[in-house]
């Protein structure tokens, strides 16, 4: 899990050093914060409670914290976080811990706006208490600046965690859509069906061909029916893609039947001058199915009692 967090954000030792340099976190900052450990212990409870006055006092953010057990748990985590700022460390383990907090926020559905807003209150709260404790303005300023650097460093990690999690979700969705866009189904022994819906662009056409060819060999299919009734636009490009797929399927030793050809599609194809002589074409999927069965040596006969009804058909051995 930890490892995963680091991988998702691509954080290694070199990246860590680069970030530390940019946020100007120097050893003296960490030393200064470590020297304030007593201060941290004294105020940790107060600072965290103050934060929840804001969070629970705001109607929208409070909605995320209706559960008392949850509030207790996050408060405990917040106290640990606060003490961590004064640990005098900013190493790999520290960054890992901060990243994990970022992912936890994302998972809990806390939007970045509440996260950043809460930080603003947090910093003011720390400033007031530093001033009360240290009294000296210059010392307060130095201590505050050191804390502020580290907090900015933490926020950057949390934002990266948010973004990485979102990208992962997008990638997951994209994979799902891709899979759904080429559903090659085995509908009978050695007969495949690919019902196409939507728009076919070059990228999808490529995937489509790969999916079809792979499945034909895997199933040793003799026939694949590609039904294009649901395809929004059939233009020269789409026709070409279909022709290429048909040719590739033929090279494997199988045949393609193109069904779902509406009058509009038929007109377009002829006007475009696309040569479809290498394809079996049918207007209805049902006709495509009949042809497919014929090609694998089966025939479709109407069932008895419902003669003539194409809705009830039986598949039998063709008499050859």
């Amino acid at each position: 899990m930890k490892q995963q967090a680091m991988v998702k954000v691509r954080l290694d030792e070199a990246e860590l050093q680069s970030r530390r340099a940019f946020f100007e976190i120097r050893d003296e900052d960490l030393r200064r914060l470590a020297s304030l450990r007593a201060f941290a212990d004294k105020y940790t409870h107060e600072v965290v409670e103050d934060l929840y006055i804001l969070i629970l006092g705001h109607a929208d953010s409070a909605k995320l914290f209706v559960d008392h057990a949850l509030v207790d748990r996050v408060k405990r985590a917040q106290r640990e976080y606060f003490l961590g700022l004064f640990s005098g460390r900013c190493d790999f383990a520290y960054a890992e811990d901060r990243l994990r907090i970022g992912f936890a926020h994302e998972r809990a559905g806390i939007p970045p706006k509440w996260y950043l807003g809460a930080y603003s209150r947090y910093m003011r709260s720390i400033f007031d208490r530093l001033l009360a404790e240290l009294k000296d303005v210059n010392e307060t300023r130095l201590a505050y600046q050191s804390a502020e650097k580290l907090v900015a460093f933490d926020m950057a990690l949390a934002m990266d965690a948010y973004i990485a999690a979102q990208l992962q979700t997008v990638a997951r969705h994209r994979a799902a859509i891709q899979e759904l866009s080429t559903p090659v189904i085995r509908i009978y022994e050695r007969v495949l069906l690919l019902p196409l819906v939507g728009t076919i662009d070059t990228q999808r056409a490529e995937q489509l061909m790969e999916a079809v060819l792979g499945k034909v060999v895997e199933e040793q299919a003799k026939v694949i029916i590609i039904d294009i009734a649901g395809v929004a636009i059939v233009d020269t490009k789409v026709a070409e893609h279909l022709l290429k797929t048909t040719e590739a399927v033929r090279l494997l030793g199988a045949q393609t039947i193109l069904s779902g050809i509406s009058p509009t599609i038929a007109k377009t194809v002829v006007h475009l001058g696309v040569d479809t002589s290498s394809m079996h074409t049918r207007s209805q999927l049902s006709e495509g199915l009949e042809l497919a069965f014929d090609l694998v040596g089966r025939e479709v006969t109407p069932s008895q009692g419902k003669r003539g009804s194409s809705g009830n058909a039986r598949v039998g051995n063709a008499q050859r």
Binding site: M209, E210, L251, L252
Partner: protein, 131 residues
């Protein structure tokens, strides 16, 4: 028995079966074509089945040699069927715009042999009808 790198041509009844299991470099491809045509001349085989399931990649030269071998065999009275093409190979050929015109294909060796018989039967029928 066969020189190193060459492709054995087997005979199953009246059909020649060639299984290409090595990468077809240009020189081997030419030798393969010559061997096959010589065997057809020597055996008067009715059919030729070329199994290319072992080929992971096919460039345009090799594809042309294979397609042409089929056309040459046809001129010599032999029906050729190409079997076992891999999906990646088919996709590559189509993307290159290479058309294996006239090449008959089947999914596997078994069906290739069936198709050869079908083709020979059809041809006899046509010839008897005087077409």
């Amino acid at each position: 028995m066969t020189p190193k790198g060459s492709i054995p041509v087997l005979q199953v009844r009246s059909t020649l079966v060639v299984s290409i299991q090595v990468e077809l470099r240009d020189t081997i491809a030419d030798a393969f074509q010559e061997d096959v045509l010589q065997r057809i001349a020597a055996t008067s085989a009715g059919g030729l089945v070329i199994d290319i399931s072992g080929l992971e990649m096919v460039d345009s030269y090799v594809a042309r040699v294979i397609a042409n071998t089929g056309r040459m065999a046809k001129l010599m009275g032999t029906e050729t069927v190409l079997v076992g093409m891999r999906p990646e190979v088919a996709a590559t050929l189509v993307r290159m715009g290479f058309r294996m015109e006239g090449a008959r294909t089947a999914l596997n060796l078994d069906e290739g042999l069936d198709l050869v018989e079908d083709l020979l039967r059809q041809r006899r029928g046509r010839e008897r009808r005087g077409q």
